[in-house]
């Protein structure tokens, strides 16, 4: 049996949890979390960690050179760098409303990249 320490990043509290894992890599016990969501988070974090990607893309016909975006759902942690590369060359034009889809289905993950700001001009 081994122990793995995982910091829960589900909320700003940042609980430091400990997972007891058996030889079949099955989680036997979790300690150190403070809520149900946190318990679920560290379990997922152990099995397959995911993150929301935030980034910027280039603009056209705008006074602002860059425009902020994020994925509408988390990606696998291992996909983050590749996803950041997939945003190179994406250009947006005003008008854009916050929440609007900028790049649908990034890398065929079913996850969309959305605007996180308004772009009026």
């Amino acid at each position: 049996m081994i122990e793995e320490k995982i910091i829960c990043i589900g909320c700003p509290l940042g609980c430091e949890t400990t997972l007891k894992i058996d030889d079949q890599r099955k989680v036997i016990k979790i300690t150190g979390y403070k809520c149900k969501e946190g318990r679920q988070f560290v379990l997922e974090e152990y099995r397959s960690p995911v993150r929301v990607l935030t980034a910027t893309v280039l603009t056209q016909n705008s006074a602002r050179p860059l425009f902020p975006v994020r994925t509408n759902r988390p990606l696998l942690k291992t996909q983050l760098k590749e996803a950041a590369k997939a945003l190179i060359g994406v250009k947006v034009k005003p008008p854009i409303r916050v929440g609007q889809i900028i790049l649908p289905n990034i890398m065929n993950t079913g996850v969309d990249v959305i605007a996180t700001d308004d772009l009026i001009s």
């Binding site: 990043i9 700003p12 509290l13 940042g14 050179p65 860059l66 902020p68 994020r70 916050v98 996180t116």
Partner: protein, 417 residues
Amino acid sequence: MKFSEVDVAVIGSGPAGMAAAIKAKEEGAEHVLILERQEQLGGLLHQCVHNGFGLLYFGQDLTGPEYACRFVEKVRDLGIEVLLETMVTQISGDRKLTAINSHEGPIHLQPKSIVLAMGCRERSRGQLSIPGTRPAGIFTAGTAQRLVNVEGFIPGKKVVILGSGDIGMIMARRLSLEGVEVKGVIEILPYVGGLIRNEAQCLHDFDIPLLLEHTVTQIHGEQRVEAVTIAKVDKNKRPVDGTEQNIECDTLLLSVGLIPENELSRLAGVDLDPLAGGPVVDERRETNIPGIFAGGNVVHVHDFVDNVSWEAEIAGTWAARLSQKGDFEKKEKITLKPGRNIRSIVPQTISGQNDVTFYIRVKEMEEKVRLKVGDIYHRAFRVVKPSEMIKVDLLQKELNLLKGNSSELVVECEKGE
């Protein structure tokens, strides 16, 4: 709107200023005016393109610009007046306010109340006294953040970050994703300066080394940074001879703390608290000058944007009430006193007549302690850390438990659970 009719003037439109203005309007102040020096509302939120904003306030994981958008929409819907690209240059103790912009020229206002919401700024190299040359390539983390996220410049190819503040760690991740080699984060203290979750998702996720109890002792390079020397430090934070090592890099980012912006507060004659860094306030977030309130990072630097907005709402609420009913009656005040292992307490004084939201920062990391506010409140903590501010809400009726006419209330960490 005639400028002579302003009820509540709010200086700054970041997460504090917009929250204060909205609350003041909702509380019934008719003419609420925001003065913002940039060309858009939102303050620093625009360059904070990462997520983690609003988890407490909205129960949603938003980015900085999204958090700003929510407030901007409300500012518009409520008909709050806004002056952009307008710099406040003077506030006097009798609530006269002077601002300037290129459309109106100088603007003279006499608002009934003023909310200070100018936020904070970063400590820079000059405040650290790092020996060495003065080449290009040394930036504060926030400046690098603006360059990368707003203006579209990458500050360098090989980066060392001094200080493990949140902005530094967030920039470590951001630069890694942009293909920059982040060689390490150097922290003089034995623990990380920012939030533990940022250590996890910004440093661990990208395999960026964190060197605790180390500091930069020399900067090398003539035109451009070429390397830094780092060394281990002893218990007194002094570099230990023989532990020096050179790290080749072209950029050094500084993430070594934030300081409230106090210039306007000083001009107005507002008393400042050297411990919290900003104005001394009471539970209404009113300063020693009647009718001048303050909220958010201008009072003391918060860990979470959500608390910045919540605190500014307190200031906005009372600023509106004062604008409608006139100045508050002067009463005896109770002074909060930092006791064992307490760095700072906001508010620094209370009237005892209203509910209070306290924000408390400890001096040192300590395990198994009991936080006490006089003998009217206590809470057990497994661990307290300087990087994690403690919020304590006390109801007015709990303050009634204060014995007799005590003029002092000690906040302290007691050892043991």
